[in-house]
Each structure stands twice: as structure tokens, then as C-alpha cells.
């Protein structure tokens, strides 16, 4: 093929320079951290499912733009909750074809959604059935009222047009019989001989790279002026750093590059960051005498200097959440709107030791010999459990522990094997404070329902979460919480479980926003989890031979710019 990536040393983007509409016979070199030969494309099979190449091989239903906070239509050009909200109607883009020449039809979309439903996807909870109205229209018949944003995220989010009916219908049929066997078969099917629906087709799966070549007959083909796109296998961050530093690759997605590394890159390397909607927080053991005490949690939030922590870990990697609340950093203002200013920020850039001390004193704690003790005279001991080997988390934990100790908590780093955390510590609540994700991650989290659900009801890890209001299946009691009311004096009692259920079922926008503010307030005051920082996803684009939008352009605020921009005609070979 036209691959020019023969060796480590050569730049992928040489070859004949294309001008104007001509397609240049060059290869855009990206990267994958999966062993190329092992990658497979059946989304129902969890092992070795592609992590990047499917973005080019298949058309996504719609793309979530973090800057806009909403979905940008793509294969699904239009979607609507109608007919008294019991139908969710999807309309396909015209002219999209499979690489074997067949058109992408509503039947294909329906097949894929059915498979998702049958194998336990979230839409199953409120979908009766899925029908195709015509070649371009798919309808989900809903069983209950559902918040339209939830449907959007469940149906459109992270879905690629992969499962062509012709190939996958047989699995749908099998579910009629032995469901378990069908699920198992579907799950173990390796879709490697793919029929692409996107603008590229899979040319070669070699040891060191995946080679994709441009399709002529995709609606967006004309936006793409280069012939090949390859994903070179690079194992580990340092490999990626070296490759992008030497500009041996043209773009990389989702890599972990600390500030000093980013600084060492050439000016022709452009960094784009998108929030990952997931990040390091402290998950308290709510049954613990101190960690379970709201006063201690608030004191902790005051003590933490989140900015310093982020700086220690690397500002290119993490972001400081402005206020500790169950909503991702970027979305806080968008959802809280006017109420935003009522929320306590607990001092994101400083250690508010005064405030922390005051709260503790009011709650009956006192400081003896430099260490805080409770009313029984028991010292506040706060070992922070963290998975060993997660170096950024360990750095953060170390900083936190140092800040705690400075304040007068008796803190220490308790690093454990990730497996023993998963296997014993978390399920058995064998910790005091544990490092954990305070957000559920993914675009979904941009809708606070998901992040509040995560904080208040169920720690996503699926283990014991003994916060009072948490789901009973997780170790909670679905109890009420009482917090001081947001506006002025008095207090407010609410049942987060009920309120979030309401939220999931309402179609009323104002009600949605009200519940979000209300439950966010609960998380801000009661701090079921203590947000510390939010992870940033980094994408790098080289600009010496490629035309790309300027840094932080709205169009780039997606996962992943390096695959989205070509479709949009925003990443072009410039010679």
C-alpha cells in the first residue's frame, strides 16, 4: 500500500503532495496502545475491542461536543422524543453506505440497538421494542416516561454503526431461544473481517500497525485529502511521548503527558484537551467514626488545596473542580446557573485551615499536641488507600496526606494492590478514605443525573457503598439526608433516591434543573465523596504537514479530535 511508515525514523506524512481536491498518497500516522493483530470490532465482545480505529471505520450515531454540552448529529441526523413521549424517533443520514456497497439502513441501526438491549444495555429498562419505520427511520417504543437527556445519552452516546444487520441479525434471532447461550456467542464473536461504514476501510492488521485506507463512497470522503490513516502500536506513555516528540506520528489521542514533557515538544505539536468527566476524589467509608462524620468531611474539603494537588500531578493532566459537587467541572455553571454562587467552594486554591478548624471545633473535636482528636479523645486517623502503581493518584495522595498532616490529621498513604482493593478492601469497606473516582466518566457524566447518581446512590464500582442514601443493593439504606437549606436559614430534608428517580422520569426541563440544583446542593454540603481533581484527556495534533483548527476550537472538543476532524474537513494534508 501507500504506507510510508516503513521505519521508526521516517515521518508518516511524506509523499506526493496533494493540492486542492486531489487526494494525496500519504498516510496520517496515529497511535494505538492495543496490539494491532488482536483488535476486534464487535462492540458486544469486551476483549480487545478497538479503542480508536473504530472512530474512522464506522460512523458514530452522534458525537458529544464537550464545549457545547450536547450531541452533534452525524449518522443519526435527527432524533426526537414524540407522541406523548412514548416514542423516540431516529432519522438516518442519507447516502451512507457500507463498504460492500449496501446502504446503511434503519434495519442496521435497529439491529445494533436490539443487540444492545438484549445483552443488558441501559435502554432495555424503558424500551418495549424497536421498529423501523422506513429505510431512514428507527423508532424506540418506550414503556415509561424517560428524561429525554437520558435516552439521548443511552442511545447516541459512544455508539458506532458497526453491527450490520446482514451479519448480526442471526444473533438477534438466537436470543429468542437460549438467551444465555446467545449472549455468550455474541460476546465471543470476534468481528475482525469488518465491513466498514465510515470513511475508511481496514486495509491491514499487521504486527506493529493498523492500516486504514480512504473510501471514496462515503458522504464525507470529499473532506479527506489523504489516502491512508495508520495506527501505530505504541506501548506506554513514554513511547508515545517519544513518537510525538520526534513527530514520528501525526497525532495521538488520550495520552498522559505531564507539563514538562509537553513543554519539550516542538511548536508544531498542538495539544487539545477534553474533560474526561472522571477524576480523583476521596471516597469516605461512611461507617467510619470520623470519615462518616460530615464535619470531618467538610474540614477535609477545606483543608485540601486542590490547586496544589493538581499542580503536583501536572496541570496538563488534571483540572481543579471549582466547587466540590456531584457535577463535572465544566458543567457546573451550565447546570447550576444562578444558584452557582450559593455553593461552597471550600477554597480550591488554598488550605482553609481556619475554616476547617472552626468546623471541627463546633463538632466537638479539639487539637491536642498538634493532632485533632474527637470528643472521646480518639485521634483522627486518616489513612488514604490508593492503588499502588497508579502513579498520578499516588502523587495526589501523597500531597493530600502531607496537607492532612500539616493540618493535624494523622494521615498516611496506604497503597495496596489494585486487585486487593477490588477483591477485598472496597467490597468490605476495609478503608477509611479511599482514592476513587468522584465522577462516573464518559460524555454521559455531562448530564448531572449520572454524576449525582454516582455520588449519592451508587459508587459505580459496583461495590459496597455505605452512604446512607445509597441504594440498598449497595449497602446503603436509601435514607433521607438533612442539610442546611441552600437559601438562608433552616434545613432541608430530601431523599436522593426518590428525587433522582423522579429526575430520570421527568420530561420537564425546569423540573430537571431544579432537582439537579437541589441534589447537587446535598453533595456540596454532605460531601458523600470529596472531589479533588478532574482528569483531562490530551490529544496531540501535528501542524507542520497538516492543517488543523486552532487550539481549543469548539469542533475539537470531542473524543477524539484526531478522528473527528478529518470527517469534518478540518484536518487536511498540507504537504
Amino acid at each position: 500500500g501507500g504506507s510510508s511508515s516503513g521505519s521508526d525514523g521516517s515521518d508518516g506524512a511524506n509523499g506526493t503532495s496533494g493540492s486542492g481536491d486531489q487526494v494525496a498518497d500519504v498516510t496520517h500516522v496515529g497511535y494505538t496502545n492495543q496490539v494491532p493483530t488482536q483488535i476486534q470490532y464487535n462492540p458486544s465482545n469486551p476483549t480487545s475491542y478497538a479503542q480508536i480505529s473504530q472512530y474512522l471505520l464506522f460512523d458514530r450515531f452522534a458525537n458529544f461536543n464537550f464545549s457545547r454540552g450536547g450531541f452533534v448529529p452525524y449518522l443519526i441526523q435527527d432524533w426526537e422524543l414524540q407522541n406523548d413521549q412514548n416514542r423516540f424517533v431516529l432519522t438516518l443520514r442519507e447516502g451512507v453506505t457500507w463498504e460492500d456497497g449496501d446502504s446503511v439502513t434503519a434495519a442496521d441501526v435497529a439491529t445494533q440497538l436490539r443487540l444492545s438491549m438484549l445483552s443488558g444495555g441501559a435502554i432495555a429498562r424503558y424500551t418495549d421494542d424497536i421498529i423501523t419505520e422506513d429505510e431512514q427511520t428507527v423508532v424506540l417504543n418506550l414503556s415509561t416516561q424517560v428524561n429525554p437527556r437520558i435516552i439521548e445519552f443511552n442511545v447516541l452516546g459512544q455508539r458506532f454503526m458497526t453491527q450490520k444487520q446482514e451479519i448480526f441479525q442471526k444473533y438477534v434471532d438466537k436470543f429468542d431461544g437460549d438467551e444465555e447461550a446467545a449472549a455468550k456467542q455474541l460476546r465471543s464473536f470476534k468481528y475482525t473481517d469488518v465491513v466498514a461504514s465510515g470513511p475508511f476501510t481496514l486495509e491491514e492488521q499487521a504486527n506493529q500497525q493498523l492500516l486504514l485506507s480512504r473510501r471514496d463512497d462515503h458522504p464525507d470522503s470529499e473532506n479527506i485529502n489523504f489516502q491512508n490513516y495508520s495506527f501505530r502500536y505504541l506501548d506506554g506513555n513514554t513511547a508515545v511521548h517519544q513518537a510525538i516528540g520526534a513527530m514520528n506520528v501525526d497525532s495521538v489521542f488520550s495520552v498522559f503527558a505531564p507539563p514538562n514533557v509537553v513543554e519539550s515538544f516542538s511548536d508544531a505539536v498542538q495539544m487539545e484537551t477534553v474533560p474526561s468527566k472522571w477524576g480523583y476524589g476521596l471516597v469516605p467509608n461512611h461507617d467510619h467514626e470520623h470519615a462518616g462524620d460530615r464535619a470531618v468531611r467538610q474540614a477535609i474539603a477545606h483543608v485540601l488545596d486542590r490547586k496544589t494537588i493538581v499542580q503536583n500531578v501536572g496541570h496538563t493532566l488534571k483540572k481543579v473542580p471549582p466547587i466540590p459537587v456531584g457535577i463535572p467541572s465544566d458543567d457546573q455553571k451550565r447546570w447550576l446557573e444562578d444558584a452557582y454562587s450559593d455553593f461552597e467552594d471550600y477554597g480550591p486554591e488554598s488550605m482553609q485551615t481556619e475554616k476547617a478548624a472552626q468546623i471541627l471545633r463546633e463538632a466537638g473535636y479539639s487539637k491536642q499536641n498538634g493532632t485533632w482528636v474527637d470528643s472521646d479523645g480518639t485521634a483522627v486517623k486518616l489513612p488514604v488507600t490508593v492503588p499502588s502503581g497508579w502513579s498520578d493518584w499516588i502523587t495526589a495522595t501523597q500531597t493530600i496526606v502531607d496537607q492532612f498532616n500539616e493540618f493535624g490529621f494523622d494521615a498516611s498513604v496506604d497503597s495496596r494492590n489494585f486487585s486487593s482493593l477490588l477483591g477485598t478492601a472496597w467490597p468490605n469497606s476495609d478503608f477509611v478514605l479511599s482514592a476513587g473516582g468522584w465522577l462516573p466518566g464518559g460524555g454521559r457524566a455531562a448530564f448531572p443525573y449520572f454524576s449525582l447518581q454516582h455520588q449519592l446512590i451508587e459508587n459505580f464500582r459496583g461495590f459496597t457503598y455505605n452512604y446512607g442514601p445509597a441504594a440498598s443493593s449497595r449497602g446503603g439504606t436509601q435514607s433521607d439526608v438533612t442539610v442546611p437549606s441552600r437559601t438562608g436559614s433552616g434545613s432541608m430534608t430530601t431523599n436522593p433516591n426518590e428525587r433522582l428517580t423522579t429526575l430520570s422520569e421527568t420530561v420537564d426541563e425546569q423540573k430537571t434543573r431544579d432537582i439537579i440544583v437541589e441534589q447537587a446542593w446535598v453533595t456540596n454540603v454532605d460531601l458523600p465523596m470529596i472531589p479533588v481533581m478532574e482528569k483531562q484527556e490530551q490529544t496531540f495534533l501535528t501542524t507542520d504537514q497538516w492543517d488543523v483548527p486552532e487550539q481549543n476550537a469548539v469542533v475539537s472538543q470531542v473524543r477524539w479530535a484526531c478522528t473527528w476532524l478529518p470527517r469534518q474537513g478540518e484536518l487536511k494534508y498540507s504537504g
Binding site: 521508526d8 459512544q158 502500536y233 489494585f418 466518566g441
Partner: protein, 332 residues
């Protein structure tokens, strides 16, 4: 058949079997199983929690008693089946067949090379005992030996690969190089193995050279060397047949043992160089709790070790004519 041979072979097999059993038991003590690691991986991939539960659920199997598992493992092992890697979703034997030659290539080359260098250097030092050359070479040997091989490896990666870009920092061959007996492939493979080999050779040759030096000095003082000189033999012949041969002999067992030892050491080395050999898979298997793969790799490394010691024991008698009788010792 000779009884020593039979006994020695029996013991080698017994050893492998015992180690296998031990490993089998030990691995099951590791906290967190493959399923938990799968869950963790899926979580990190951002897969929907309910889907994760569904996936994990289908992987769960009825718990089989350990002895049944053991019995099944042993029987399938006897038919050459090492099981299926959970993480790579491939037969363990296929992974090992793919990886082992590379590790053996690197480590055996390195060990041979380091012994050749050590023997030559050690002999030279012995001949020039007490001279400035001896002092410098001895000091250098000691200094180099005080560097762990992986530290030197990291140094190499940083300086030679990253700073100067002289050598690749990872993988067995460059991208796009197709395996086969082509010059391109072979030279590329050597190019990629150069740094791993160099880091082992440089850090281990020193001590062996010192050992060789000691042996040579000892042999140089033997009467038979003196007599050989008087008999008018050429210096070359004395150096090779008299001093060399007798000084190298005691290092022979050490050589074969070191090969086995180094193959075990590949766990760290291949990690530093991202060199997908046996050690690399061992580490992957360990962190992913891929029992079958772990067992397989463990078994292979053990077997190489046992076999190399076995060969050493059986062949030493052929190499050193003096060793003829297996030691018989009276019990006190």
C-alpha cells in the same frame, strides 16, 4: 541404562512437576482474580456499569474444586495443552511459542557474549596480573557489576534511544519488518536486541571476568603449566589448552545456570525495553491475573532452568575428564 542418568532424569522431571504444583497452588492465593481485573479494565475503558455486570456475570463459572482444576490442568498439560490465556484470548502455547524464541535469543546471546568477553578479559588480566591494565580492568569490572542490569537498561533507553536516537527503545523488530530469514529482518532483530543484550553483558561480564582472572591465576601457578613451559610448548598452546581450558572448566556450570537465571531476569528487562518475550508476558499475566498464562510462563522458565542445570550436570563429566564418579558419601 546407567542408574545415575535415570536418577538424574527422574529428579529433573520430579522437580518440574513439584514446581508446577507449587505454582499452581501459589497462583491461586493471589488476591483478586482474572474477573476482577477484567472488571477493572472495563471500568477504565468507561464501559457502562450495567454492561460490565452483564459481561462479568457471563464469565463467572461454577466454582470447581481446586483438585479437579489441578487434575484437569495436569492432564491437558500432558497432551500439550497449556490452556487459554484469559487476557489475550489466545492459547497459552501459541503465546509462548511466539515469545520464547525472542527471550532465548536475547538471553542466550547475552550470556554467551558475556562469558566470551569475561573469559578473554579475565585471562588477559591474569596474564598481566598486577599491572596498571589489571588494576583498571578489575576496577572497571567491579564498577560495572555494581549497576543492576535494568538500571543500565534504563540509562541506555534514556540516553541512547531518547536523547540520541541511536537505538530503538522497544519491540523485537521495527514496524513493517516481516519475519523471515531475510537480511532486513535479522539485522533489524539484532538492532532491536542490541540494547537489552548490552545491558546484560556489561553488567554481568565483570564478575565473571574476575572469576576467570582468579581461576587463571590459580592455574598459572599450577605445576603443569610450569612443566609445559619447560617442555617448550608455545605460549599460545599453553594459554589455550593449559590455562584457558582449566580455568574455564569451573565456570561451565555457572554458565548454564546463568542462562536459566537470566531468562528469569527477563521479567524486568523485557519490561524496560517493552520487548514481548517470555518475561514480558509473565509480567502481563501477573498484573492481569491471567492464571493460565502465568502458569505456562512459569513452567517454561522453570523448565529452561531445570534443563540447563540438567545438561550441566550430565555434560560436565564429558567436559572435565576428572569428574567420573558420582560422589558417594558415607552418612555420619
Amino acid at each position: 541404562m546407567n542408574s545415575y542418568f535415570v536418577k538424574r532424569t527422574g529428579r529433573a522431571i520430579l522437580t518440574i512437576w513439584l514446581v508446577m504444583t507449587l505454582t499452581f497452588g501459589m497462583i491461586r492465593l493471589i488476591p483478586g482474580g482474572p474477573i476482577e481485573m477484567l472488571r477493572a479494565r472495563l471500568i477504565r475503558q468507561g464501559v457502562d456499569p450495567s454492561r460490565i455486570d452483564a459481561i462479568v456475570q457471563t464469565y463467572k463459572q461454577d466454582p470447581t474444586p481446586v483438585y479437579v482444576e489441578y487434575y484437569e490442568y495436569v492432564t491437558s498439560l500432558l497432551s500439550g495443552n497449556m490452556g487459554q490465556s484469559f487476557y489475550y484470548q489466545e492459547p497459552v502455547s501459541a503465546l509462548i511459542v511466539d515469545a520464547l524464541p525472542w527471550t532465548v535469543f536475547v538471553m542466550v546471546t547475552a550470556t554467551i557474549l558475556l562469558f566470551v568477553i569475561a573469559i578473554l578479559l579475565g585471562a588477559l588480566m591474569a596474564y598481566h596480573e598486577g599491572t596498571a591494565f589489571d588494576t583498571v580492568a578489575s576496577s572497571a569490572s567491579i564498577l560495572l557489576s555494581s549497576i543492576p542490569f535494568y538500571v543500565l537498561a534504563i540509562g541506555f533507553v534514556v540516553v541512547l534511544s531518547y536523547q540520541f536516537g541511536l537505538f530503538p527503545a522497544r519491540y523485537r523488530v521495527g514496524p513493517g519488518v516481516e519475519p523471515g530469514f531475510t537480511v532486513q529482518f535479522l539485522s533489524n532483530a539484532i538492532y532491536h536486541a542490541a540494547l537489552p543484550i548490552a545491558s546484560v553483558v556489561l553488567t554481568q561480564a565483570g564478575l565473571q571476568a574476575l572469576a576467570m582472572r582468579g581461576n587463571s591465576i590459580q592455574v598459572l601457578g599450577e605445576d603443569f603449566v610450569r612443566v609445559a613451559r619447560l617442555r617448550g610448548l608455545s605460549d599460545r598452546r599453553i594459554a589455550v589448552r593449559y590455562v584457558g581450558r582449566n580455568a574455564i572448566l569451573p565456570m561451565y556450570t555457572g554458565f548454564l545456570t546463568l542462562i536459566g537465571f537470566n531468562i528469569g531476569g527477563s521479567v524486568i528487562l523485557e519490561q524496560v525495553f517493552t520487548y514481548p518475550g517470555i518475561g514480558y508476558y509473565m509480567y502481563q499475566a501477573l498484573i492481569n491475573r491471567d492464571y493460565a498464562l502465568m502458569m505456562g510462563v512459569f513452567l517454561i522458565i522453570t523448565t529452561t532452568l531445570v534443563v540447563s542445570v540438567y545438561i550441566a550436570d550430565l555434560t560436565y563429566g564429558l567436559i572435565d575428564p576428572r569428574v567420573q564418579s558420582g560422589g558417594q558419601s558415607e552418612a555420619y
